[in-house]
């Protein structure tokens, strides 16, 4: 069985405990305004262009059968819509400015890579994390990896936005040691505006797995001007009150590090001008959350 992967990070220290290998799957059902991995949204491979590296040599223009590239007046113009990801341009770019994001990989290949660091996992209490994109969206693939890993004694985690069916969550539950579960917005209307979907199903899923004994770290992206408000903070605190088994609340403070990523794949970043969260703002958030009764809050 194959899945669409866009990166594998070995020695990943931020997606669960210990030394981990994180598999990034391509494709996500949500469309968050603040998405810091826009290249992970589409379920298809796609062309990426790094203008910093381009020497304007024109090879891509010559080699592309679909007229995607044009060099006009010293400017490299790309019509991403025409691209069929046939890779001729990538192969002919001497500067490494072009690449195709997303490649097909089998469960076996993934497990072979994961197993290479097995001893590191064992000695550090680490393991495998599937991230994305949304791992639950390539369900069969994700399920198969988790099952194999779990059965061979590797600690497993998934990082999920929570958008999937209850059946699927119940199915993976026995094979997931830790859920890094996103909680983006408390107000269902706002949630829809920010991410394209309501949070109803997501919350249902969260409650379902918690009721069934899942180990959960709640990951809360906080975006100034969007969800850093009292109502949402109360929502976070309320969740933890209701489910004391939520081990940890990880605040993912907005950072504009991924600012230019959208442009590389021909998209527009709607929050291009939003700057990163300051340390003082972060402190205020922590204060508010603790005041509302949250415990175990950290920054991820």
């Amino acid at each position: 069985m194959n899945g669409l992967v866009y990166d594998i990070h070995r020695f990943s220290l931020h997606d669960g405990p210990g030394i981990r290998t994180t598999i990034f799957l391509k494709g996500c059902p949500l469309d968050c305004l603040w998405c810091h991995n826009p290249e992970a949204k589409s379920f298809e491979p796609q062309l990426s262009f790094n203008s910093n590296l381009c020497t304007l040599c024109g090879n891509c223009e010559k080699s592309c059968p679909n007229n995607v590239h044009q060099i006009i007046d010293g400017k490299h113009i790309i019509n991403f819509d025409l691209c069929r990801t046939s890779e001729e341009c990538v192969e002919n770019c001497p500067a490494g400015a072009l690449s195709i994001i997303g490649y097909s990989e089998s469960v076996e290949e993934i497990m072979e890579t994961v197993n290479k660091d097995r001893k590191y996992f064992e000695n550090s209490g680490g393991g495998l994390t599937i991230s994305g994109g949304e791992p639950m969206a390539q369900f069969d693939f994700t399920f198969e990896i988790l099952k194999r890993a779990k059965e061979s004694g590797i600690h497993t985690a998934i990082e999920t936005c929570g958008q999937s069916t209850e059946q699927r969550f119940m199915k993976v539950l026995p094979y997931v040691d830790l859920f890094l579960f996103d909680y983006k917005e408390t107000d269902p209307e706002n949630h829809k505006n920010y991410t394209g979907v309501s949070n109803k199903q997501i919350l249902k899923n969260l409650e379902l797995i918690l009721e069934n004994g899942a180990s959960v770290i709640l990951r809360c992206p906080l975006i100034p001007g969007f969800n850093d408000n009292e109502k949402h903070f109360r929502g976070i605190a309320g969740l933890q009150k209701k489910f004391p088994s939520i081990k940890l609340i990880e605040i993912m403070a907005y950072h504009n590090t991924g600012r230019d990523k959208a442009e590389k794949i021909g998209l527009v970043n709607p929050l291009k001008d939003l700057s990163s969260v300051s340390e003082s703002e972060k402190k205020m958030w922590i204060n508010s959350l603790t005041r509302l009764g949250c415990t175990n809050v950290t920054f991820g």
């Binding site: 931020h14 950072h255 504009n256």
Partner: protein, 744 residues
């Protein structure tokens, strides 16, 4: 080094006077002429006596300049000195006569003049730092680590007694009495040197007014007077005797210091003779003196490890040594910690603290791998192998039993380059190796592989022969008295180290460009022979033009898997290249008559210097760029994170060579806040067969360099606000932002 007309003259006269005397007597008289003159006075703050400024003519086993070992004369420097200074015509004539005399009397000249025709043809130059070539001889007898325990146990009087007895029975046992006579004169020289420093301290005391310095100097005076007449009784005396001896023997690597110093330290502290703080001050002073010795690639101090007779006391010294390295901010000594399962965890934690502060020391050696490797590679038994010590840039020997100077360097990448050009070095256009056919005639990758092997083997044979010849000439020239009095079976047999006095006389050959060569071979194999996507002629043109106009081809070469990413294909090629050269080198020992002859894959600046004269290579490396360092991947070619790199590092065999080194880089944050992760990472690496690690802690400067040369810093991942990125792929202003934040 300095020029001292009077001493150089005195030295030359002594040599001439004893030119036909027994080599031991000649050496002893020459030592007497050069010491204590070449010693330098005590400097403010020194708690131990012993500084040196060797002269431009002299005697030493180790090198005092390129090709300057044994009896040496640095002609060019003397000529330069003559030009810049006033000397009378008479003096000038005298100096010119001396230069004329030494031009044929210096040891490396004698060695070179005995090269075979083949050696002369293929090893035409000794200037490996500046000239292009596949292999170069080195002229030095370095890395010897004598029996310091015995030195400290017997002291000068004890050694004198022992040698005197041996001299008395020499004739009866048909041993060489002159060898012992030479040794006794050498001990007189030792005493002369102590006297020199006694005078020096007395003079300083006459001028000194600061109370605390006076007290330090008075202590030093007592110590010097004591070691002159008796064996060392205190830690301070032991350090002093040891330190002066290292100059006399020109010993630049100090072996298992914790073992031979541990008991002195423990007994002094336990008996209230010295406090911990005073002991630390002494070691700090020693460390500073080592720095000022400017040996660059030596000054190895070994602590830790299996097979220490006094483990507890030794560990007390080890802790002190670590603290000294933490507090003396310097690039030397090269403190090296041998680690093993069951070692004192306090020592290991302390070592990580020191490394975490960015000291790059201690270098870690994994006994649980290395002892077994030494048993196999050198064919030693386990007990002997436990006494292995790394010296210099990382070669192993068995302390005071074996010797294995690296007497040559071989540039494997140049061997491939010359092979691809049918014997011609494209850098010079001259013949530089065997002509084994042009690239086109290699119909399969196997043909190319065989030709490359032949090329390397040809030079390995020559280097092995050169090593033996070097020992032969050295043995005929001198017994190297100071080292021989504490080495192998020299004393009992009445023979110098290189005249049959040690059982385990071995050699080593430094290899460079191992990784580049392997990555290049794999690229050629895949693109030229397997996918036929690159024609041979085009590849050669691309290499010859340093990829100008061949950027796309270079990109293809770069895209072929590289060592350091846990990619089996790439790592297997490295293992194959490694195994070939290591095995072939190792096989030479029986042919040339050495106890062992082994590859060392080590770290110094040779990868850069020899890189300067090596053309573009098929791994995508540009002309004149550095080659890879030791067993490391080429900088910037490892892109899969640290576990992948470590997994690659453990693949080449460790039991067929005499040492290999690897550099690892971590962030300070990792050491401070993720110590548990770091420890498990290192533990896994060592469990997996990691033999050695030199750990640099990366700080902001690395990020700055990454902004300047992104291609070399692919491996730096940064973590900000919930997602990871390769630092070099971020926009400039974001990089700058991160620079002001923490790494990882």
């Amino acid at each position: 080094m300095k020029y001292n007309f009077f001493t150089e003259l005195k030295f030359t006269s002594a040599y001439k006077e004893y030119i036909n005397a027994h080599p031991a007597i000649r050496e002893a008289m020459c030592l007497k002429a050069q010491y204590p003159d070449y010693f330098d006075g005590i400097t403010e703050g020194d708690l131990l006596a012993g500084r040196i400024q060797h002269g431009l003519i002299g005697f030493s086993p180790d090198e005092w300049g390129p090709t300057a070992f044994g009896y040496y004369c640095l002609t060019t420097e003397i000529e330069k000195h003559l030009k810049e200074n006033d000397y009378s015509t008479e003096q000038r004539t005298e100096i010119e006569e001396i230069l004329e005399f030494w031009s044929t009397e210096n040891t490396s000249f004698k060695l070179r003049s005995r090269y075979t025709e083949e050696m002369k043809k293929y090893l035409p130059s000794d200037d490996w730092m500046n000239q292009s070539g596949i292999a170069f001889p080195l002229y030095r007898l370095t890395g010897g680590t004598p029996d310091f325990s015995t030195l400290l146990k017997l002291g000068i009087p004890g050694l004198r007694d022992k040698i005197t007895k041996l001299l008395e029975s020499a004739d009866a046992e048909s041993k060489d009495p002159d060898f012992y006579r030479g040794l006794l004169i050498a001990l007189d020289v030792f005493v002369n040197v102590i006297d020199f420093y006694i005078d020096n301290v007395k003079q300083l005391l006459g001028k000194e007014t600061g109370q605390s310095r006076i007290s330090d100097l008075e202590k030093l005076l007592n110590v010097l007077e004591a070691v002159k007449i008796s064996k060392p009784r205190t830690f301070h005396e032991a350090l002093q005797l040891f330190w002066l001896y290292t100059f006399l023997g020109d010993v630049r690597n100090y072996g298992r210091m914790d073992m031979y110093m541990g008991d002195f330290l423990a007994s002094d502290i336990d008996n209230g003779i010295i406090t911990e703080e005073e002991a630390l001050r002494l070691v700090q002073s020693l460390w500073k003196l080592m720095v000022d010795r400017h040996t660059v690639v030596h000054n190895r101090v070994i602590i830790g490890g299996r097979g220490r007779r006094n483990e507890k006391n030794a560990d007390r010294f080890a802790m002190l040594a670590l603290e000294a390295s933490r507090t003396v901010l310097a690039i030397e000594p090269q403190l090296s910690l041998r680690i093993y399962k069951g070692m004192n965890p306090e020592v290991y934690e302390k070592a990580l603290d020191v490394i975490g502060e960015g000291r790059t020391f201690p270098i870690l050696y994994n006994d649980d791998v290395n002892i077994g490797s030494v048993v196999k590679a050198f064919e030693f038994n386990k007990l002997d192998a436990e006494q292995y010590v790394p010296y210099g840039c990382g070669e192993y020997i068995i302390e005071h039993e074996s010797f294995g100077t690296p007497s040559g360097v071989i540039n494997l990448l140049k061997a491939l380059e010359v092979t691809l050009h049918n014997g011609i070095d494209p850098m010079t256009g001259k013949e530089a190796g065997l002509a084994l056919g042009d690239f086109n005639s290699f119909k399969s990758f196997g043909d190319l592989w065989n030709a490359y092997n032949k090329q390397v083997e040809h030079f390995v044979r020559l280097m092995a022969e050169q090593e033996v010849l070097e020992y032969k000439v050295a043995g005929e020239t001198a017994p190297f008295l100071f080292m021989s009095m504490l080495y192998g079976e020299c004393l009992d047999s009445g023979k110098g180290m290189f005249s049959g006095g040690i059982k385990y006389l071995g050699g080593t050959l430094e290899t460079y460009g191992n990784t580049n060569t392997s990555d290049s071979l794999l690229a050629i194999k895949k693109l030229v022979y397997e996918s036929n996507s690159v024609p041979k002629g085009e590849l050669l043109q691309a290499l010859d033009s340093d990829f100008e106009g061949y950027e796309l081809l270079r990109k293809k070469l770069l895209d072929v898997p590289k060592y350091g990413n846990d990619n089996n294909e790439a790592d297997n090629m490295v293992s194959k290249v490694h195994e070939h050269v290591c095995t072939y080198v190792r096989e030479q020992k029986d042919r040339v008559g050495l106890h062992s002859y082994l590859v060392v894959n080590i770290n110094n600046s040779a990868n850069t210097l020899m890189g300067h004269s090596t053309s573009a290579s098929a791994d995508g490396r540009k002309s004149c760029m550095s080659m890879n360092n030791g067993n490391n991947p080429t900088s910037g070619y490892d892109k899969n994170g640290v576990t992948a790199m470590l997994n690659s590092l453990v693949k080449p065999r460790t039991d067929i060579h005499a040492g290999a080194v690897q550099n690892l880089k971590f962030s300070k944050n990792m050491f401070r806040e993720k110590r548990d992760i770091l420890k498990s990472l290192l533990q896994t690496y060592f469990d997996n067969g990691g033999a050695q690690a030199m750990i640099t802690v990366v700080d902001k400067d690395d990020l700055r360099s990454a902004m300047k040369e992104p291609e070399k810093y692919q491996h730096i991942f940064v973590r900000v606000g919930g997602f990871s990125a390769r630092f070099v792929e971020l926009a400039r202003d974001i990089q700058e932002d991160i620079l002001t934040r923490t790494l990882y």
